[in-house]
Amino acid sequence: MSAGWEVVIGLEIHTQLATRSKIFSGASTAYGAEPNTQACLVDLGYPGVLPVLNKEVVHMAAMFGLAVDATVAPRSVFARKNYFYPDLPKGYQISQYELPIVEYGELFITDEEGEEKRIGITRAHLEEDAGKSIHEGLDRSSGIDLNRAGTPLLEIVSEPDLRSAKEAVAYMRKIHSIVRYLGISDGNMQEGSFRCDANVSVRPSGQEELGTRAELKNLNSFRFVEKAINFEIERQIDLIEEGGKVVQETRLYDSDKDETRPMRSKEEANDYRYFPDPDLLPVEISAEYIETVRQQLPELPDAKRHRFIDEYELKPDDAAILTNSRAVADFYEATVAATDAKPQLVANWVVGDLSGALNRDGLDIAESKVSSDALAGMLTRVADNTISGKIAKQVFEAMWDGEGSADEIIEAKGLKQITDSSAIEAAVDKVIEANPGQVAEYKAGKDKLIGFFVGQVMKETRGQANPGQVNQILKQKLKP
């Protein structure tokens, strides 16, 4: 970023809560159904219908509040946000306004200098999602799909504590990880279950007063968040440096052109006329209830990361990657429990080859073609020297392709590591005999050639010789 400027960012993250039915009706929240097949009379805003709060969302919001060390309000209130739009059937959105269910939270991210940094969470409130307009395939008119109308959302608002696009992404990833750990959201960004608005402003370094902010709407991937914010920061700095002024406005990010553009001002010139929804009672939560929820909370990413470092003596980076997702962490721990291999070795495999294979095939850890037991079985063979790490990669690929367990593959392909000294010696002798020139050079002091010899021996043994033994025997035989 340009020197002399400080960036100030706050995020509003919209998380779809993973309830089976909607926040105020019994209709299903499943994604991808035919338009308007999952909208009941309440979702359609029919005359006379009334909202009834799905209690599950209160439980989920309370879990989130406790997970970020926030205050879970003993009393919160649903309000109506009034505006006309075809995807908003009632002409108002039910949302919490003055009295949200969660306030004063915090979490910690690792900033660009590698330091822990506290990010304040102003509030998190419950609200209903709107439907969506469909413009494609309709001649001169628009369609409305109200399946999504009434889907429960938790909107999580941060303090303006973020100082770069990278920090914003780190914070967003952290929230993403927490909501998935808690099981309160599937966090699916393609389906819109996790998206954010970013408030971005810049000010000269050292200035107390905040600059004028622009709000970037509906960013639905980590990459877009980073790119949109970076574009916006540059735009604002350039504008000010050229003598212009940032105007407070809502902007949309166009990922094709990698730029932000103002929304039409008409779309934001709304006075929402918020007032408490008289159809719903205030949400009252007792201290006992909060205590029960607290006791049911799972281990959260930070605690798990610290435990992995302590208990498994993992490198901090690996621990962070493994604990980013609860499913990955569970897979890792299941593997560790089922093998004699060192936890760090297991970590290397989960973070390395396993993640690589999953990414390559576009699979989730839950869909992994190699189970934690299967991986553990293979790593046990690495640990007991049946196969080398290099052969293990071959075995892993075969397992991934469904050729059987590690032991079956090792057996079928004859991949068992050669640890028989006489067999290795024979191979070494053969290599020495075949390469007199290199032997002479080595003996004359060109130590580096040891690698060449090891390679030749491994080739001779189709990679199956125990590398340690090969090294040892070679050095012995090549002694000048």
């Binding site: 009334l50 006309f84 006329r273």
Partner: protein, 487 residues
């Protein structure tokens, strides 16, 4: 079979039980009366004759089989604000002239389950906004006591139908007096229960925090019968309250001896027609003669109830009526240029003047910069008024006074003067703001037009109100008087 139309539900139930007549005969008789008389009254928006006769046959069959609901075979009318499946539900508005409800309101469902037979849907002020039934898209309703007068509103069709002996009882809704004022003006009994006593599910919302469903009938006992079926918790309405429903019919037989009646001085100030005041005082004297003790109580903030109401109710209605946008149901303008134009034209064409007036008022009081001065202030005053009632009820069992400031006025007389029209509800609005049960009981006539006695009770003390009214009706006969043209 003669004269069933003038019988109370209690009498009709006895007749049905004894086999003096069937529900089909009773229903057919009333449908004939509707046919003969409603042209004069305009009390019905829709008459559901075939469905009514089917329901009557079913009720007779059920009786023969020994399965008898508490209202089995008894005809009623629903205010056209209650959603009725497969039947046009207009709310008195052009906006919903084409709206066939796909579902039944809880009230409709419960009354049907108890065996009631629905004759049709009653005319009303548009979206229940009005005190004279003149804002209805379907035209004004006439008062059976004088066809040139209003029956009151907004439940004017319900009250006129009951007063004209077209049905023994009708449902109504009351946001600021919409059951009680028409009951007073037509010489019928009308009860608005405690807020939360009856489910609002399926009742098209006007002002959600004030709306309550209730009954208009000719006797307190009949009102008790119908209310007993309507009342009770409904999980589909978050504001309905899970509180046991007493046996109202059993409760009303008890004497009112020793109970205390609060009289509010302001209720007898200059705004009240002198002759009406006399009738009300006479009624209170009768109640005293039954052993109840009248004491003066103070409601210091009651004068603010009308202005408070005309901030809170329009605010809520401006939001509640946003769903009528021409997109999914109801009136849609034929020609429009774009989305905004679709909204403006559909709503401009679909709503009448009074509804527009309240939507605009409500939008204004909720706007940024005015919210605190109007809406928030009104909510604070509302709390003060509720507290006043609470204090007053520490000493009394009911508060009694006039229901309306005058007897029925002439159609057209106040239609162009909204403020005067709004003052019609000056005595009734307080109970809505405080969520208290209240009722109107016929207590005499002024120049041939009925006058109503207003009773307000403690929360969930409908039985006490009904008991006062029933005991009063045991020693008076105002409720048996029938408008001559409808005898």
């Amino acid at each position: 079979m003669m004269d069933t139309h003038s019988k109370s539900m209690t009498e009709l139930t006895a007749g049905l039980e004894k086999g003096e007549f069937t529900s089909v005969e009773l229903t057919a008789g009333l449908l004939e009366r509707v046919e003969a008389h409603d042209e004069k009254l305009n009390a019905f928006v829709t008459v559901t004759a075939d469905a009514a006769l089917d329901a009557a046959r079913a009720a007779d069959a059920a009786r023969a089989a020994g399965n008898v609901g508490v209202l089995n075979g008894l005809p009623i009318v629903h205010k056209d604000i209650f959603c009725t499946r497969g039947v046009k539900t207009t709310c008195g508005s052009k906006m919903l002239d084409n709206f066939i409800s796909p579902y039944d309101a809880t009230v409709v469902e419960r009354l049907a389950a108890a065996g009631a037979v629905v004759l049709g849907k009653a005319n009303m002020d548009e979206f229940a906004m009005g005190s004279s039934n003149e804002t209805s898209f379907y035209g004004p309703v006439s008062n059976p006591w004088n066809l040139e007068c209003t029956p009151g509103g907004s439940s004017g069709g319900s009250a006129a139908a009951v007063a004209a002996r077209l049905a023994p009882a009708a449902t109504g809704t009351d946001t600021g007096g919409s059951i009680r004022q028409p009951a007073a003006l037509t010489g019928t009994v009308g009860i608005k229960p405690t807020y939360g006593r009856v489910s609002r599910y399926g009742m098209i919302a006007f002002a959600s925090s004030l709306d309550q469903a209730g009954v208009i009938a000719r006797t307190a006992e009949d009102a008790a019968r119908v209310l007993g079926v309507m009342a009770g918790f409904d999980e589909r309405d978050s504001t309905s309250i899970d509180h046991p429903v007493p046996d109202y019919v059993a409760a009303i037989g008890e004497s009112i001896k020793g109970l205390k009646v609060g009289i509010v001085r302001q209720h007898f100030d200059e705004g009240l027609d002198a002759a009406c005041g006399e009738r009300v005082k006479e009624a209170i004297a009768v109640i005293e003669s039954l052993g109840a003790e009248a004491v003066e109580v103070d409601l210091p903030n009651i004068d603010y109830s009308v202005p408070t109401y005309y901030v809170v109710a329009p605010a809520e209605c401006s939001s509640n009526l946003s769903r009528f946008d021409g997109v999914r149901f109801g009136h849609r303008a034929e020609d429009f240029e774009d989305l905004r134009d679709l909204y403006c034209r559909s709503r401009g064409e679909g709503f009448g003047d009074e509804v527009k007036r309240r939507i605009m008022t409500g939008t204004y009081v909720l706007s940024a910069g005015y919210y605190d001065a109007y809406y928030l202030k009104a909510q604070q005053v509302r709390h003060l008024i509720a507290d006043d009632f609470k204090k007053a009820f520490a000493d009394v069992d009911v508060i009694a006074g006039p229901t309306a400031p005058t007897p029925a006025f002439r159609l057209g007389e106040k239609v162009d003067d909204p403020i005067t029209m709004y003052l019609n509800d000056i005595y009734t609005i307080g109970a809505n703001l405080a969520g208290l049960p209240a009722m109107s009981v016929p207590c005499g006539f002024v120049d041939g037009l009925p006058v109503g006695l207003h009773l307000v009770g403690h929360h969930f003390e409908e039985q006490t109100l009904l008991r006062f009214a029933h005991q009063y009706q045991q020693v008076t006969d105002w409720h048996t008087a029938c408008p001559e043209a409808f005898a």
